[in-house]
Structure formats: structure tokens, C-alpha cells
């Protein structure tokens, strides 16, 4: 079975540009979460979607937005990129967002801002 897939794997942008990251969850998983991981730190929660609705939002500026599609795939958009947005962006999926359902992670998108 395919795991969580993210695209692209690497991306280089310049300050002020916009970026869209994509995530396909494990088949049957209806919840998708996005995390930002800066080098040397743990993941920081950005968004969680379940059944196409936003169910949680972390402490990130409005430049960050996301959505979930009817097939449960998801996109993360970041506008007006800053140098500090350089990080590994991780997508995770789970059957449901609560209880003992673990999140399963993709390999991430490495975003570099020049």
C-alpha cells in the first residue's frame, strides 16, 4: 500500500514568492495535518483538516493557508515567502484526527528560500 506522498521533494524559491505544496494521504485516511520542521527542531503544527474542514490551526501567520479536496488530498500554500520559511514541510495522514489513531508521515518537502 502506498504511504503518504508529498510533492515536490525539494523546492527553491526567492523571498516574496508564493509556493504550493501537495500531499496525498494513505488510502482511506480522511485526516491530513501539516507541520513545519526547521533544522534541528521538532515539528511545529500548522493545520489539520478532517472531512475537508479545518479542524485545527497552529500559531502561524495568515500567509499560510491550506485546503483539503474531496479525495482527501491536501495543499499547503504559503504567500510572501520569507527567509525564515525555509524548512522541511511534513504532511501526515490518519484515519481520524482523534483517539489513538497515529499519524503517518510523508518524507516531506524541503523548501529553501533564497
Amino acid at each position: 500500500d502506498a504511504g503518504v506522498t508529498q510533492s515536490p521533494t525539494h523546492l527553491i524559491k526567492t523571498r516574496g514568492q508564493q509556493v504550493t505544496l501537495r500531499c496525498s494521504p494513505i488510502s482511506g485516511h480522511k485526516s491530513v495535518s501539516w507541520y513545519q520542521q526547521v533544522l534541528g527542531q521538532g515539528p511545529q503544527f500548522i493545520f489539520q483538516y478532517y472531512e475537508k474542514e479545518e479542524r485545527g490551526r497552529g500559531n502561524f501567520p495568515d500567509r499560510f493557508s491550506a485546503r483539503q479536496f474531496p479525495n482527501y488530498s491536501s495543499e499547503l500554500n504559503v504567500n510572501a515567502l520569507l527567509l525564515g520559511d525555509s524548512a522541511l514541510y511534513l504532511c501526515a495522514s490518519s484515519l481520524e484526527p482523534y483517539g489513538n489513531q497515529p499519524q503517518h508521515f510523508g518524507d516531506g518537502t524541503r523548501l529553501s528560500i533564497l
Binding site: 521538532g42 515539528p43 485545527g56 497552529g58 511534513l90 489513538n100 497515529p102 499519524q103 518524507d107
Partner: protein, 115 residues
Amino acid sequence: AQSVTQLDSHVSVSEGTPVLLRCNYSSSYSPSLFWYVQHPNKGLQLLLKYTSAATLVKGINGFEAEFKKSETSFHLTKPSAHMSDAAEYFCVVRPVMDSNYQLIWGAGTKLIIKP
């Protein structure tokens, strides 16, 4: 407030010796607990999860963790370290009675294996 504390930022052991990575949590209710591993430049892989069925949980790659409610701990152990175990390990809590559903992450422990 819910929290997770990984007591060591780095742990260094020799290959073939036991591994102990310590994790303490703070939660008003019995939480779900997870350990994840992250190898360099990779995503996070689930090692094991505690769901109240048994206090000793076995995971992949020979790892196991014991839930001790009285000590609010969920330490990760492995009897014999292998070079391939070198990675960052994260202890994660999901409070059960929390409508926010969010995972609470520890700061991570970097496991170093000496040959």
C-alpha cells in the same frame, strides 16, 4: 496544560548496548502516547503507540516502551543498539479528552551510536 518532556537532548551508547530514551508527560486524562523516529533528511516513522490495552508496548525494530501512570512516563528502550538506530526520536502525546485533537510533541532526543 498538557506537555511532553524528553529528558535528554542527546543520548550516546555503544553498538550492542541497551538504549533508554526518557519521556515524561503531563495530562489530565489517560492520553494516547506515541514514539516516532526520524532519520536524517527523512520524514517521521511511527515506532509504537500506547492505547491503554497493555502497559508494555512493542514496536518496530526491537524497540519497546512501558507506560507507567504513577510516574507519568513512557520511556523507550531497546536491548541492543544497532548502528542503524542512529536518529532523532520524538515522544508524542494526544490528550484523549481534548476537542482540539492536536498532538503534543517532545523536543526530541538524538541517539548517537558509537562503533
